[in-house]
Amino acid sequence: MSDLDQLYQDIILFHAKAKHGSTLEGNPPEAGAAVGQSHQLNPTCGDEITLRVETKDGVISALRWAGAGCSISMASASLLTDLAVGESPAEFTKMADHFREVMRSRGKIAADEELLGDAAALSGASRYVARVKCAMLAWVAAEDALAIAR
C-alpha cells in the first residue's frame, strides 16, 4: 500500500462520510449527566469542531459533535465517537495518550489495535506532519470537554 493509500484507507473514507456522532444540533444533553463542551479550530486550514461529552455513572454516556473539515479530521471525530462512548474517563485518557504518542511519532510507533480499535487506521496520518493536527482535532476537543465534565 502506498503512503497515500495508507492515509486514506477505506475505513477512513467511510467514516469521513458517515460522521458518527455529528448529531450535536437538536440533541440537548441528558438530564443528570455531567456535561463538558469544547470548540477547537485549526486556523491554518479552517477545520473546526464543537464537541460535547456527557458522563454518567462513571462512563462517557454520550459524545456529540458538529464540525467541518478534511476527511482526516472528520473520520477521526467519527472513529473517536465509536471508541469513547461507554468507556470510563480514565480508560479514554489512556486511549488519547496513546493516540497522541502514535500521531507524533512520524510513523515510527505502531498503533495498538487492541486499545484503539478502528481508530488505529488513523496512524497513516502520522507520516504527514501537516495532517497530525487534523487527526488530533477531535481528540483535543474530547480531552478538553472531559476535563470540564469531570
Binding site: S2, Y8, C45, G46, A68
Partner: protein, 449 residues
C-alpha cells in the same frame, strides 16, 4: 540566462530589453533555459518530478540571486550607514544602489522606497505611522494630514489578504475611525458601483490589492484611484501579486503608497518594500525608532532624517537587499511583459482546464476573462486539504486553505480552496500534469459515487 548584480549593467539591460518584442510571451525553449537557473526545480518528490505550483505563496530563487548573497558575505559584509572604513562604505554604496535599482523597477525614485521585512511589515509601518500621527503633539506639523479620529473612514475591499486588512482594523480601533469595505459579487469580483458609494467625503485612506491572491483578478486601479482622489483620500496598493508578475509603474497608476515582498519575486525571505510619494514619506512620523534614523539626539528628544532613512531604524538587512536587486535584474532581463504574457497563457490554461473538470468550481474570473497566472478552486465533496494531499503524492505542490483571505472565502460560501499559482519557470506540461491529477481526485475519494 544570467542576471548581473551590478545596477549599472541593469540600467543598460533595461534599455536593451525595451527593444525586445514585449508582447510576445516566453516560449517553451526559453522557459526550459530559465529552469536551469533554479536548481530546486530539478528534484523529485515522492518519486515524481517536482511540479511547483505555489509561487503565489513564495517563489524560488535563481542561482544568481543566491550567488549575490554569498558574494556579499564573502567580500563585503559590513553595516550600512555607519562607520567610515572601506567595507562599510562599500556596503553602503551597494545598499543604496540596490534601492535605486528596485525603485526604478516599479517606476519610483530611490528616496521613495523604504526597505521592510515583507509586505506585511510595510503595511504595518503605514498603519502605525498614521496611528502615531493621530496621537499627541507632532514634532512635524505636516504629520497632521495623516491623523485619524472618530468620523473618519478607512476603506478596504472584501477580497484583501489579511495583511491588508488587519493593520487597518487595528488602526481604526486605536483611532476611533470606521473601517468599511468594497464588497465582492458572487463570483468574487469587486463591485465597483459600490466603491463609488463607499469612498466618500469622510474617507481618508483607501487600501486595495492590485491582483487578488485568491481569484487572480486584476483590480481596476485607475478607477479606485480616481474615486479616492476626488475625496482627497490616500491610496495604498498591495502589489504583492503584481510586482513579481507584470510591469508595474506606481507613478503611472497614481497611487500614494505601494507594498510588495521580495520572496514572491525570486528573492529570499526577509526583504520587502514600501513605496510612498516622497512628499508623503517626508511628512510621516516614524514607526520604529532608534539608531540610523536620527539627526540630533538629546536626552529629551530626537530629530529624524528624511525618508527613506527615517523608516529604517537599526542595523539593516543588506544581503537580502542585494539579493532582491539581483532578482529584479533577472526579471527585467527576462522581460516583465513577456513574463506577464506567459503567465496570462498559463492562467487561462488553468482556468479552462479546471472549469472542464466535473465537480470543480473555479473561483474568480471565468475562462477567457483576464486573470493572473493562478487559479483557486473547490472540488465538490473533497476538502481542499485532501486535494492538496493527493496532488502532493503526485509531486505537485499547491496551496490549500483560505490563503489568508477568510472574509473572501466566507463570502463565497467556502472555508478552504486549493490554489495553483505559476511563475516564469512554470511549463505548460506542469499545468497539464496538475489538471490531469485534479481530474482524478473525486474518484479517488469516492466523491463521484
Amino acid at each position: 540566462m544570467s542576471a548581473n548584480s551590478s545596477p549599472e549593467t541593469a540600467a543598460s539591460q533595461t534599455k536593451a530589453s525595451t527593444h525586445a518584442d514585449h508582447h510576445q510571451p516566453l516560449d517553451d525553449a526559453q522557459v526550459a533555459r530559465i529552469r536551469n537557473d533554479f536548481p530546486i526545480l530539478t528534484q523529485t518528490v515522492n518519486g515524481k518530478p517536482l511540479v511547483y505550483l505555489d509561487s503565489g505563496a513564495t517563489s524560488q530563487n535563481p542561482l544568481t540571486v543566491m550567488e549575490a548573497e554569498q558574494e556579499f558575505y564573502e567580500q563585503r559584509n559590513s553595516a550600512v550607514h555607519r562607520g567610515a572604513h572601506y567595507l562599510a562604505a562599500e556596503a553602503t554604496e551597494i545598499y543604496e544602489e540596490a534601492r535605486a535599482n528596485v525603485a526604478s523597477f516599479i517606476g519610483a525614485d530611490s528616496n521613495e522606497l523604504v526597505w521592510t521585512s515583507n509586505a506585511t511589515e510595510a503595511l504595518n509601518l503605514l498603519a502605525y505611522s498614521f496611528s502615531n500621527a493621530s496621537v499627541g503633539q507632532q514634532q512635524n506639523p505636516e504629520a497632521k494630514r495623516f491623523a485619524l479620529s472618530e468620523g473618519d473612514e478607512v476603506v478596504v475591499t472584501e477580497l484583501e489578504h489579511h495583511a491588508n486588512l488587519i493593520p487597518w482594523q487595528e488602526l481604526c480601533r486605536r483611532t476611533g475611525a470606521t473601517l468599511s469595505f468594497i464588497p465582492v459579487d458572487d463570483s468574487g469580483a469587486l463591485d465597483l458601483a459600490q466603491a463609488a458609494e463607499k469612498i466618500g467625503p469622510k474617507t481618508k485612506i483607501v487600501a486595495f490589492t492590485h491582483a487578488s491572491n485568491v481569484t487572480g483578478a486584476i483590480t481596476d486601479v485607475p478607477a479606485l484611484v480616481a474615486l479616492a482622489k476626488k475625496v482627497n483620500a490616500l491610496t495604498v496598493l498591495d502589489a504583492c501579486q503584481s510586482a513579481p508578475h507584470m510591469p508595474l509603474d506606481v507613478k503611472a497608476l497614481g497611487v500614494d503608497f505601494a507594498v510588495f515582498s521580495g520572496h514572491k519575486m525570486l528573492a529570499p525571505t526577509g526583504i520587502g518594500a514600501l513605496y510612498g510619494r516622497a512628499e508623503l514619506l517626508n511628512a510621516m512620523p516614524p514607526f520604529l525608532t532608534g539608531g540610523s534614523m536620527i539627526t540630533t539626539v538629546t536626552m529629551e528628544s530626537a530629530g529624524y532624517l528624511p525618508a527613506p532613512q527615517r523608516f529604517e531604524a537599526g542595523t539593516q538587512r543588506i544581503s537580502q537587499v542585494i539579493a532582491l536587486s539581483t532578482a529584479v535584474n533577472y526579471l527585467r532581463e527576462t522581460g516583465m511583459d513577456r513574463i506577464a504574457a506567459w503567465e496570462h497563457q498559463l492562467g487561462q490554461r488553468l482556468a479552462e482546464g479546471l472549469a472542464k473538470i466535473r465537480g470543480v468550481r473555479l473561483v474568480g474570473p471565468a475562462p477567457g476573462e483576464l486573470r493572473t497566472g493562478l487559479a483557486a478552486f473547490d472540488v465538490e465533496g473533497v476538502h481542499a486539504h485532501d486535494v492538496g494531499q493527493y496532488l502532493d503524492d503526485r509531486g505537485i505542490a499547491v496551496r490549500v486553505g483560505h490563503h489568508c483571505a477568510q472574509p473572501l472565502h466566507r463570502r463565497l460560501g467556502l472555508t478552504a480552496t486549493t490554489r495553483a499559482s505559476t511563475y516564469l519557470y512554470t511549463t505548460t506540461d506542469e499545468v497539464d500534469a496538475f489538471l490531469a491529477a485534479v481530474a482524478e481526485v473525486r474518484a479517488y475519494f469516492g466523491a463521484d459515487a
